[in-house]
């Protein structure tokens, strides 16, 4: 199946390359292998295919070849990418903060350190909600309840050790509590988690803002705070505004395999920088409702190190890493 798809991609890619002459941009790579460590249809897959869409139209890359290997927050795909593509200058993997937590909790021998960071592209703020029927009216109310008895406030979200769980841990730490005291209920996927919050089975919930946005709009969930640096939704305050020093976003970016030469890495960084500057990219971010979080080079490497350290500290405290 993947070979047929790559053939198809090659054919359409050739056609696009032929048309790209008048687009003005110079072709940076003849072909690019894009590895998605998740199934088709998810967030990483969406970002990968968005890159293809924009880069091919602009003629930056001739052809794209995709491979999806899903499972366990990317832990199944990661070793395959690192093992099979080592040193290859024309391969990228789409991943993000979910993998940071997953590789730590799953104790995979291969980790983020084995990848060559290229660029962070997008991020999504999380949101802390309570069911509409809840007594808790605002963030202060939730924080007071958490501070008094963290075990009594069950919080629903995605898989254990993921971004949602880490956010709860960081909030508890900022309250002077241990992350371990939290009563976190992990659900498999967004549907069951949302259902548990809507049905008031849990006291509160944490997830990506886009996942809960429609429930908040319809009044079935009450949003207390978002977890970004700045407000994503003008009507919802951030955690930092309310005096809780917690910033946690679900970021997504691209990485190259280990062992590639510095000039090959620079070429990929230049490619992503050029892609990011395209009006078509800005347009795409707007239609998909993705927050631009472009970061490359030293700054990205430093951010990554900090993210890994922060995540690891919380996971260690909970006892998961």
């Amino acid at each position: 199946m993947s070979s047929r798809r790559s053939l198809l991609a090659a054919v359409t890619g050739l056609a696009a390359a032929a048309l790209a002459g008048d687009a003005g941009a110079q072709q940076r790579l003849a072909s690019l292998y894009m590895f998605i460590p998740a199934g088709p249809g998810g967030g990483w897959d969406g970002l990968g295919r968005a890159i293809e869409q924009v880069a091919r139209q602009a003629g930056l890359v001739g052809t794209f070849q995709f491979e999806n290997v899903g499972g366990a927050g990317g832990s199944v795909g990661l070793p395959r990418f690192v093992g099979q593509r080592r040193g290859r200058p024309d391969a990228l993997m789409v991943t993000g903060s979910i993998m940071v937590g997953a590789t730590l909790t799953n104790r995979t021998p291969v980790g983020m350190k084995d990848l060559t960071p290229v660029a962070r592209l997008t991020e999504e703020a999380g949101v802390v909600v309570v069911p509409a029927s809840s007594d808790i009216k605002d963030l202060a109310g939730l924080l007071a309840a958490l501070k008094a008895n963290p075990g009594g406030v069950s919080v629903g979200g995605g898989s254990a050790g993921g971004t949602d769980h880490i956010t709860l841990g960081l909030i508890l730490k900022s309250l002077g509590r241990s992350a371990k005291d939290g009563s976190y209920v992990a659900f498999a996927g967004g549907g069951p988690a949302q259902a548990a919050i809507l049905g008031a089975q849990v006291k509160a919930g944490i997830s990506g803002l886009s996942e809960f946005a429609e429930q908040i709009k319809s009044g079935r969930m009450r949003a207390l705070a978002t977890t970004g640096q700045e407000r994503t939704d003008p009507a919802i305050p951030t955690l930092t505004e309310s005096g809780t020093d917690v910033v946690m976003t679900n970021w997504r970016g691209v990485f190259a395999p280990p062992g590639i030469r510095p000039d090959a890495r620079d070429k990929l960084v230049a490619l992503m920088t050029e892609l990011h500057a395209l009006p078509a990219w800005t347009e795409l971010l707007k239609t998909r409702d993705w927050t631009d979080a472009f970061l490359t080079g030293e700054a990205f490497t430093a951010f990554l190190a900090e993210d890994v350290a922060k995540t690891e500290a919380v996971l260690k405290e909970i006892g998961l890493a």
Partner: protein, 500 residues
């Protein structure tokens, strides 16, 4: 109610255009094809079709997707019955009686009762979506992890129906299933369990893979092992059409299965597997005494009609939380939601208000797809049944090839192929020493679900075990489970004493 009728009228006026009928037909064809292939399910197919959302308008694309979804439910039973190779987890139970019927010259009626049962269930399910959706979903939201755990305990009772003659052997099989179900990352802690350092095992062992390995590969290897050089036996294909008695015996199982399946589909953590198990259990208990002997021996038609209807009604039910609340409660629904998003539509509780025309067209196209599918599938019954005319060695070789290709299709992973044959060899020995294989699969499905639900419930209750009996719905389900477990035995004891 009136709103629903007006909505349906609008929906049919959109769905019955030539283009949209074309999309529905294409979807039904594709869906039946992927349903027949083990491994490739509707979720993967729709995911691969996602790029068409750039080119095709929303209505057409969703009609195509719904056709694929319903079609896969129809097709899934075909290989279960003919080759004992279930294509997806909802049709694993269908294979129990279906394959036995096929082996005894009743493949035609088995396939027909599955197809017509799918139609009946699809229609009841779609009626449910049209008229009961918002009401049922609000009820379903009242169920929490505690209730789900109790429901799963109730389903464990059904294992007793497939344990076979020896409880020791049956329970051994069940525990093997529970063991396999433990492999992979634990949801509540993110820790890997029994993965032996193999990254592919982090995501757990696929239950369809195990079913195919035990039912099809194990059986095939056993046949090869015990094959005698006598003249090859060609199995009787038997009559194709359902007899009067088949209709009579199928009718109530269809209805009961449908009514059981739909609410399970609506439940956010329900799924298609649990209702098929409960339906199988119910049919086995309710069967007329003169047919009771067919269960587990020559194959009882009730055991195909009920679970297959339950499977399809549950599949229809899964669309309810998606359409009324925007909740993706299955892989297929999650992919469909991402398709909505690529049209700039954010599915949520306001979907019916904001996209009324699209949603009602989609529902109307479900009725259309359901009719198309039964018309497509019934004539195929004769064709499919003829597969059994292939002499046994060749037929079994074909099954092996088919199972291998299908398994590779799940994940393109060699690890899965190794697992298929290792578990297949275990299945061969289980067959040789009379260990039933169905409890393995049931344990594998229910075990992890029950474990997670129990731990979720206990986290919420701060470790208080009484939560399971303090919540009234949970208590009621537990009482039902106890009654189902000891009731028949007590009843038999009372009767024995009365007659003595």
């Amino acid at each position: 109610m009136m709103d629903s009728i007006a909505g349906l009228q609008l929906g049919f006026s959109h769905a019955l255009t030539l283009t949209n009928l074309g999309w529905a037909l294409l979807g039904c064809f594709l869906g039946t094809a992927v349903g027949v292939l083990p491994g490739i399910g509707p979720a993967l197919t729709i995911a691969l079709l996602l790029p068409i959302t750039f080119k095709v308008e929303a209505t057409g694309a969703f009609i195509l997707f719904c056709g694929v979804f319903y079609g896969a439910m129809y097709g899934g039973s075909t290989t279960s019955i003919l080759l004992n190779t279930p294509g997806e987890s909802g049709s694993i139970i269908t294979a129990l009686e279906g394959a036995k019927m096929a082996r005894n010259g009743r493949a035609g009626p088995a396939l027909a009762t599955a197809a017509i049962g799918s139609f009946v269930a699809g229609t009841i399910g779609t009626l449910g979506i049209s008229f009961l959706g918002p009401v049922v979903v609000d009820l379903a939201l009242q169920l929490g992890p505690a209730e789900y755990f109790s429901l799963m305990l109730l389903c464990f009772v059904t294992v007793s129906a497939v344990l076979g003659g020896s409880a020791l052997r049956g329970l051994t099989s069940l525990f093997l299933g529970l063991l396999l179900g433990l492999v992979g990352i634990d949801l509540q802690t993110g820790q890997p369990r029994m993965t032996l350092g193999v990254p592919e095992l982090l995501d757990g062992v696929n239950v369809v893979l195990v079913a195919v390995a035990l039912f099809a590969v194990g059986e095939t290897l056993f046949m090869a092992w015990r094959h005698t050089s006598a003249a090859p036996v060609v199995r009787p294909v038997g009559g194709i059409v359902m007899s009067r008695s088949d209709w009579k015996r199928s009718f109530w199982p269809w209805i009961r299965g449908s009514l059981l399946g739909f609410p399970f589909g609506v439940m956010p953590a329900g799924g298609t597997e649990m209702p098929t198990m409960l339906s199988y259990y119910a049919e086995r208990k309710l069967v007329k005494p003169e047919h009771a002997g067919e269960f587990g021996t020559t194959g009882a038609i009730e055991g195909v009609a009920g679970p297959e209807a339950a499977n399809n009604a549950a599949a229809a039910g899964i669309l309810v939380p998606m359409l009324t609340l925007g909740l993706p409660t299955s892989a297929t629904a999650a992919i469909m939601l991402s398709a909505f998003q690529s049209y700039g539509i954010n599915p949520g509780p306001l979907l019916f208000e904001q996209q009324g025309a699209l949603v009602w067209t989609l529902i109307a196209s479900l009725y259309v797809a359901n009719i198309m599918l039964v018309v497509l599938n019934l004539p195929l019954v004769g064709l499919w049944a003829r597969i059994l005319k292939i002499p046994q060695p060749q037929l079994y070789a074909g099954i092996l090839v088919f199972a291998t290709i299908g398994t590779y299709g799940i994940s393109n992973s060699v690890t899965d192929l190794v697992l298929l044959y290792v578990i297949g060899i275990i299945g061969m020995f289980m067959r040789r020493f009379d260990f039933p294989t169905a409890p393995v699969v049931i344990g594998m499905i229910l075990g992890p679900m029950a474990e997670q639900a129990m731990r979720q419930a206990l986290t919420i209750s701060e470790g208080n075990w009484l939560t399971f009996v303090e919540r009234p719905v949970s208590l009621a389900i537990l009482a039902l489970a106890v009654a189902a477990l000891v009731g028949p035995r007590l009843w038999a004891a009372v009767r024995r004493r009365a007659s003595a």
